[in-house]
């Protein structure tokens, strides 16, 4: 979240799209009810299904699965064409005035720089026009035809309400009502928040959907303000923590990156990742990349990381490509991966194309499961009739189960959607032989290290030299780990401005990442978390919820990264002169001497407005990017593409251009592509999702949850049900090009047929909570049906939009 849960109470308009907060985040949803009850906030829900969130809404708009960019692009077009823009904000805080180079173009849905063979873009032509000093040229009047504002205007002018309705199936008048309500927040004193979740990320163009939402919010002046923002609702209690700690195949903690194969030398790596400012006075905070990276390497390798060996740079693996879940299981399927450690994950239930996942697991020599529960994956080799029809006698995979603890059986920090690190305590001892994950990893690591010490082996240094100074090496404590990610001064840290002032003494825990150095005198295992565990104690364990400004900021409750900041980009809550847009909801403003307010300023505290520093300190531009010259795989502006399986035969935005039918930069392996369905056989759009009664596949192991939602079902609109002769409660068979499932039909008016041009689109809802393990009635993995294709930037699978057929079982 750019903002935080409590801040939702400050909103005037709430848009829930690509998420279902009432069902998936019921506790957080209370802040929506607060905003409605106490600010007269209006709630809009845009969703393929009339969900329990929609039941709470003032306005509901149906949408076809996978058409969100068309919808949001249409709203952007409405705002620009009706002059519903917070123009002063746009000029001060976005790259609207920046001039894009002449090489940029968009033709028939394909941007400049496309290599059709490799299905990849070279983003060089998307860059700004630079002056002789290397700074981007700007036109403050926004009239230059190549300035971002004009390009944006031209780009989205194509997204007319009629076209939106044709693509999305949303009736034009309903769509216009959404536009009008969103447009009501273009004034400085009205704000809209957007709440989204996996309904936006689970698409072959998920990252671009989110960017479209962000563009919309920037045009309305709704970023960095109370009651505004782009708010990603995270699905697990600590999935934000997972992201922060970089548990992705090409990431390092704190949003740092692993080196690539092409980073031959240390300097190649540092140059690639240390941006130069694109405007004079821009803070360009990522310019500090070397400080964060060197501090990480000092945390990991201590004295073995020296200036001479480039801070142990060669200990890090260099990647040739990402090893996301789709790729990993493709390699496993091909027999190229034969051992797999699966920690806190249930691939057989959670990953697309269940049959492929099962076949891949059967090819492994060994599988290690670290999980508190007996999952579908841990028991993939067991025959459970139609729900897991495998030949046990043919499976040679050796499975090791290492039982781990549940959250209530361990102490430590959880990072929630609000970026708050909240410390929690053990509520019960784990049963039987179950151990906490740090202990399991500690045992594994110390034994592997002993093997290296005894037997040598190729390149033992990265294992041998790893910092492992925990009191009990086989069981690192939560406090020790927290202090490690917080970081320490390895020498006295001197204030560069006042040489006689020591900011942190040697050996002390650091209070802020502003004290990190690139000369090896500081360590930090995850720089964004620095400040969480300081010399003042465990800041994550703080429980003072006093709220002096009445905005719900509660700066003394737990710790929010970065540096206890509650709302990101909060300097944008004031105008260019540092004066709050809304005097009743002040976050950060200029008091004549300093930037102050109800939050920790996301800005240099002493930067006076006339310095023109820019409110978005992380971008090289110093402002927010409506147009992204780098960073996105499929183009600098979001463009609508169809899902890889669509009930439509044509992309109505770019008809007649097959190469722009779906995301031109999304990766799909050949054998997966061969398993894509065609509308003739699989005419119905399908989407999978979770329900409020369950948490993934876990809670079906609990009696209380199994009682309140006991058995697998699929949701079918009454019109399609009538057509197919399906009665409420009948058993139905749902099939895709990859397999089929059977379940009870819930026939409902909540899934209505949509008119998409000349095609009537029926949508089928597939809640995904059941399996062959646990207490609830046995069911099928819904991912039997979903395709192995992911977002072009993140490879997050397209669970939310594919096609199926349905018939009475």
């Amino acid at each position: 979240m750019t903002n935080h849960w409590v801040d939702i109470k400050n909103a005037d308009v709430i848009l829930i799209m690509g998420g279902n907060a009432a069902e998936a985040h019921p506790c957080g949803f209370k802040w929506v009810t607060e905003a409605k009850a106490h600010r007269k906030a209006r709630l809009m829900v845009v969703d393929p299904r009339f969900t329990r969130s929609a039941a709470m809404a003032d306005l509901y708009a149906p949408i076809r699965v996978g058409s969100d960019i068309a919808f949001l692009g249409g709203v952007i077009n409405y705002l620009i064409s009706h002059d519903k823009l917070q123009m002063e904000y746009i000029k001060a805080h976005t790259n609207a005035p920046f001039i894009v180079g002449e090489g940029y173009s968009l033709k028939d849905g394909i941007f400049s720089g496309y290599d059709a063979e490799k299905r990849k873009y070279d983003p060089a032509s998307w860059g700004y026009e630079l002056d002789k000093d290397g700074f981007a040229k700007v036109d403050p009047t926004l009239e230059n035809p190549r300035c971002v504002f004009q390009i944006l205007k031209q780009h989205y002018a194509r997204y007319t309400p009629e076209l939106v309705s044709k693509i999305c199936g949303t009736p034009v008048d309903t769509f216009k009502k959404v536009c009008e309500l969103a447009a009501s927040t273009a004034t400085p004193t009205r704000n809209m928040t957007i709440m989204y979740a996996l309904g936006w990320t689970h698409h072959s163009q998920g990252s671009e959907i989110i960017r479209t939402g962000a563009i919309l919010q920037l045009l309305l002046g709704n970023i960095g303000v109370a009651g505004g923002g782009m708010n990603a609702l995270r699905g697990h209690s600590n999935i934000q923590g997972l992201t922060d700690l970089g548990l992705l195949s090409t990431s390092l903690p704190g949003y740092l990156q692993l080196p690539k194969d092409s980073d031959v030398k240390y300097d190649d790596y540092m140059t690639r990742l240390t941006p130069k400012p694109l405007r004079p006075n821009s803070t360009n905070y990522w310019g500090n990349y070397p400080k964060f990276h060197v501090s990480l390497m000092k945390a990991w390798y201590g004295k073995a990381a020296t200036k001479e060996n480039n801070w142990a740079f060669d200990y890090l693996p260099r990647y040739d490509s990402g090893y996301d879940i789709i790729k990993t299981f493709d390699l496993m399927y091909d027999g190229k991966i034969n051992g797999y450690i699966c920690q806190g994950f249930n691939p057989l239930s959670s990953f697309p194309d269940t049959h492929k996942i099962s076949a891949a697991l059967q090819k492994l020599k060994f599988l290690v499961i670290i999980d508190p529960l007996a999952t579908e994956t841990s028991n993939f080799w067991q025959n459970h009739g139609e729900h897991n029809d495998v030949k046990t006698e043919d499976i040679k995979t050796e499975v090791f189960r290492l039982p781990s603890t549940c959250f209530a059986e361990e102490e430590g920090s959880l990072t929630n959607s609000s970026r708050w690190l909240q410390w929690h305590y053990k509520g019960a001892e784990p049963p039987g032989e179950a151990k906490g994950d740090p202990e399991i990893i500690g045992e594994l690591f110390t034994r592997i290290r002993a093997l290296y010490a005894k037997e040598g082996g190729v390149f033992p240094e990265p294992i041998r030299d790893l910092t492992w100074t925990y009191k009990i090496p086989t069981s690192p404590s939560p406090e020790e780990l927290a202090q490690e990610y917080n970081g320490r001064a390895l020498d006295d840290i001197v204030d560069p401005k006042k040489k006689d002032t020591i900011l942190a003494k040697k050996g002390e825990l650091l209070g802020t990442f502003a004290h990190l150095r690139d000369d090896g005198t500081t360590s930090a295992g995850c720089w964004v978390y620095t400040g969480a565990y300081t010399e003042k104690g465990n800041m994550m364990a703080r429980r003072d919820n006093s709220d002096p400004y009445g905005l719900g900021q509660t700066l003394n409750w737990a710790f929010a990264w970065p540096v206890n900041r509650r709302v990101l980009y909060n300097r944008a809550s004031s105008d260019a002169a540092g004066k709050p847009w809304d005097p009743k909801r002040k976050l950060v403003f200029w008091n004549g001497e300093k930037n102050v307010g109800s939050d920790v300023p996301d800005y240099r505290p002493d930067a006076a407005p006339e310095e023109g520093v820019g409110a978005f300190i992380l971008t090289a531009e110093g402002v927010a990017r409506l147009f992204a010259p780098t960073g996105m795989a499929e183009g600098p502006l979001p463009e609508h593409y169809e899902p890889f399986e669509s009930p439509l035969k044509v992309n109505h935005l770019n008809p007649g251009h097959a190469d722009a039918f779906n995301n031109p930069a999304a990766r799909m392996f050949k054998k997966d592509r061969a398993k894509l369905g065609k509308p003739e056989q699989f005419p119905y759009a399908a989407t999978s999702y979770g329900m409020t009664e369950h948490f993934h596949g876990w809670t079906k192991h609990l009696k209380g949850n199994a009682i309140i939602q006991p058995e697998q079902f699929v949701e079918v609109g009454d019109e399609l049900a009538k057509e197919k002769g399906i009665a409420n409660g009948d058993r139905v068979k749902v099939s895709s090009a990859r397999g089929h499932i059977e379940a009870v039909a819930v026939v409902t008016k909540r899934l209505r047929a949509l008119d998409c041009g000349d095609t009537k689109v029926h949508q089928i809802g597939l809640p995904n909570h059941w399996g062959f393990m646990g207490l609830a009635k046995k069911g099928f993995s819904v991912n039997t049906l979903s395709p192995s294709v992911g977002d072009a930037n993140t490879q997050t699978p397209e669970y939310k939009a594919f096609t199926v057929n349905i018939e009475k079982a």
């Binding site: 009432a22 009810t33 009682i707 939602q709 697998q712 409420n728 819930v746």
Partner: protein
């Protein structure tokens, strides 16, 4: 055994002796704001956790309502209804979600119908409580309830329903469902405060276009200690058959008046017969019916919450049934 002191007992079933009047306690109420309820069923789970009762893992019968009905081990359930109703000038599709359970009537039909002394109590705070140790399993409370709430267990032939967490309220806590509700849709306090809170909510709902928003606190049963804020208070029946004008059946009234001495005699004979049955045959064995659903839900399954199938169970007139 009663959760509150005998000092707090206002009425007792089948008892002619006057109750204590030395202490006046605050009249309480639970207010369920249907417009804030997201149907998450956390209240259902909290109810089963606190009271330590769990029914069977059932099946899906084509709706979100699970368990499909109230039962001896299911004292509250969410009811879902798909309707088209007027909002402002237009018709709008709505998915109405109502938490169902005992309404704790000021004039409780169950208590009036109950022939067993002290099996049903009403406390001076308004809570109506079943004292199972005194229950003879006759089912008159089921007939006497205009909301179709009590359920007789096939396991032990006792009547069960929501206690409004009388044990929690007795020690100054709110009911478990209130404590757990994530959106503040369920609130608990003095009846007066709840009525005031409801009035504020109604203003908000009217401003949003629900011209008929209002409080459900039906006069036919003397008002209730569980009340609803409804967007369509003029049509409570669209909320899965919430009765528009619940009344205690005339038969119950008659029974309690003229017929009472005769009825008491009949009950006495029944008890006597039961005693001889016990002596001669032995106790009824709950294990003798292993195939019957533990929750006793069988006959109460409602197949759909769709607007076409809204013959609300709550409208059943116990008089006709008897």
């Amino acid at each position: 055994m009663s959760s509150l002191q005998s000092l707090d007992i206002k009425r007792r079933s089948a008892t002619t002796l006057p109750s204590t009047q030395a202490r006046e306690t605050l009249e309480v109420a639970k207010l369920i704001d249907v417009s804030k309820c997201i149907g998450c069923k956390a209240c259902q789970v909290a109810c089963s956790e606190w009271n330590d009762i769990r029914g069977d893992i059932g099946t899906n019968v084509g709706v979100y309502d699970n368990p499909a009905d109230l039962g001896p081990k299911t004292w509250t359930v969410m009811r879902y209804s798909e309707v088209e109703e007027k909002k402002g000038e237009e018709m709008a599709f709505e998915w109405l979600i109502r938490k169902d359970g005992c309404m704790h009537c000021a004039e409780p039909g169950c208590l009036k119908a109950c022939p067993s002394p002290g099996a049903i109590l009403q406390y001076s705070n308004g809570i109506v409580d079943f004292i199972e140790e005194n229950c003879i399993g006759c089912g008159y409370c089921v007939a006497g309830c205009p909301f179709n709430v009590p359920r007789i267990s096939k396991q032990d032939s006792k009547a069960y329903k929501c206690t409004l967490c009388s044990d929690r309220v007795a020690v100054g806590l709110e009911p478990a469902c209130v404590k757990t509700c994530p959106t503040g849709a369920i609130t608990f306090g003095s009846k007066e405060d709840m009525i005031d809170h409801a009035a504020e909510r109604v203003v908000d709902l009217k401003e949003r276009g629900y011209a008929n928003a209002g409080l459900y606190n039906p006069a036919g049963v003397g008002g209730t200690h569980v009340m609803y804020v409804l967007k369509h208070a003029d049509k409570p029946e669209i909320y899965h058959g919430l009765p528009k004008d619940p009344q205690i059946s005339a038969t119950v009234g008659l029974w309690k008046g003229v017929m009472k001495p005769l009825a008491m005699l009949a009950m006495g004979l029944t008890a006597l017969t039961g005693f001889f049955h016990y002596v001669k045959v032995g106790p009824n064995d709950a294990e003798a019916h292993p195939d019957e659903p533990e929750d006793g839900n069988g006959p109460h399954v409602i197949r759909s919450s769709g607007p076409g199938q809204m013959e609300g169970k709550g409208n059943v007139n116990p008089g006709e049934q008897a």
